[in-house]
């Protein structure tokens, strides 16, 4: 019987082994993902025969050499990766795989959530977690014929976000606002959530929801948080959007999703296009959700965006920021950056 050796390696520690990983993945029509923090490798003698990567709580880049593809090696690889994740404090796991490996990976205790046909399937290591999340959403259902939704990163909350929420709420019987939970942005989730929650007071008939692993997270939409690097994983946006359409929207009875037009940011603009396809046009067992694009508010001809605010903030130009953000955000920025940066004249 062949002796298998399993061990973990961080990509930056061993470029030579990463070349082997590249080759193994390429043999299985996969690419290495630069966000993987650590790989589990398996060797039979000298030869690399299996690998699997971990990007925080997401397993990806799983491959087994063709001549070793049997269930028992797969299950050992799965055990090793799950054990490694648990050592790193990660228990709630997601997994990306090519759809043809779906059944093999069911053996790892992962359950399919959504699939972009022919491209990728997202799985989760719990048969009940998403269901439990949807049940918690169901408790916050509101009656009405037109139930809107908005998903905001609000990094930070601007007058543009405020306008979008106000516009959407006015058109709907109820509006559900979600704040992206992933702490991968300039401003922390706690700060972003507080700004949205306070920023929308005074707008009637809406609920501000905590974000979750299932809405624009590292798990559902890995490339979203890389957009500064202009990486676009076109088809993959389908994962995030199908989760929304098939699980989240039905739980809350959502019929419409509102989004700002995106004249500035290529990735987000692509996401808007994808949104219309996956939420509305794509074949799915779930009802179609209408996507409403709301023209972005402009100041002096420039559309308001959170990234513009961040650019100004880097320059310490609070006077200019004042035109782009509501009072609540301005006060937050002044407080956060008090002393460190020049504050606009006349602001006490």
């Amino acid at each position: 019987m062949a002796e298998f050796e399993f061990y973990a390696v961080r990509p930056e520690d061993s470029p030579r082994e990463m070349q082997e990983v590249n080759n193994l993945l390429a043999d299985r029509q996969l690419e290495v993902d630069t966000r993987v923090e650590v790989f589990v490798l398996c060797r039979a003698g000298e030869r690399l025969i299996a690998c699997g990567g971990l990007d925080q709580n997401v397993i990806k880049c799983v491959a087994i050499a063709q001549d070793f593809s049997g269930e028992s090696l797969s299950l050992r690889l799965g055990s090793e990766i799950i054990a490694l994740a648990s050592q790193r404090g990660r228990f709630h796991l997601f997994l990306y795989s090519a759809p043809h490996n779906r059944d093999l990976l069911r053996g790892w205790g992962f359950y399919p959530l959504v699939e972009v046909p022919g491209l990728v399937v997202l799985m989760e290591n719990s048969p009940i977690a998403l269901q439990a999340y949807c049940e918690s959403l169901r408790l916050r259902r509101e009656a009405g014929r037109r139930i809107g939704s908005v998903v905001l990163n609000a990094n930070p909350f601007t007058l543009g976000h405020h306008f979008l929420v106000k516009h959407a709420a006015a058109e709907c019987d109820w509006l559900h606002v979600f704040v992206v939970k992933e702490d991968a942005s300039e401003f922390s989730y706690a700060d972003r959530f507080a700004l949205v929650a306070q920023g929308v007071t005074g707008i009637d008939r809406l609920t501000v929801h905590q974000g979750s692993d299932y809405i624009i997270s590292r798990a559902t939409f890995p490339s979203y948080f890389l957009k500064e690097r202009k990486v676009v994983d076109h088809g993959w946006a389908g994962i995030d959007l199908l989760l929304f359409r098939e699980y989240i929207a039905p739980a809350l009875g959502i019929t419409h999703r509102y989004v700002g037009t995106e004249p500035l940011d290529v990735v987000t603009n692509m996401y808007n296009t994808d949104m219309k396809y996956w939420l509305h046009d794509a074949p799915s067992g779930a009802a179609a959700i209408a996507v409403v694009e709301v023209p972005r508010v402009s100041i002096n001809g420039d559309p308001i965006s959170a990234s513009a605010v961040r650019t100004l903030l880097a320059k310490g130009d609070l006077a200019e920021i004042k035109k782009l953000v509501p009072e609540i955000t301005l006060r937050f920025l002044e407080k956060k950056y008090a002393g460190a940066r020049p504050v606009g004249a006349g602001v006490s």
């Binding site: 028992s72 299950l75 050992r76 799965g78 055990s79 799950i82 054990a83 648990s86 228990f91 709630h92 053996g107 790892w108 205790g109 290591n125 719990s126 048969p127 009940i128």
Partner: protein, 97 residues
Amino acid sequence: MTITKQAIAGTLESSDLLVKVAPGNEGKLDIVIHSEVIKQFGKQIRRVVTETLAKLGISEGTVVVEDKGALDYAIRARVQAAVLRGSGPDDLNWEQL
């Protein structure tokens, strides 16, 4: 004993099982069992899991079992290990086990 944090024990290999535990809410104890032999031994596996949890005094939490055809003593050991890892060792009473 109370499950206060997430934990796992076991492997996915043949004749073993992987047990995942997580803290619960509102006094609910959710036990989910998946097994390749669920048709033949599903009831038996559930009985062993339930009894082991009861002996440990667990009445709240989520317990997910991925069984690969393990025998009773393996099931008992893996469930105990996962619960102990997930509850902190402070109030461990070996007599109960």
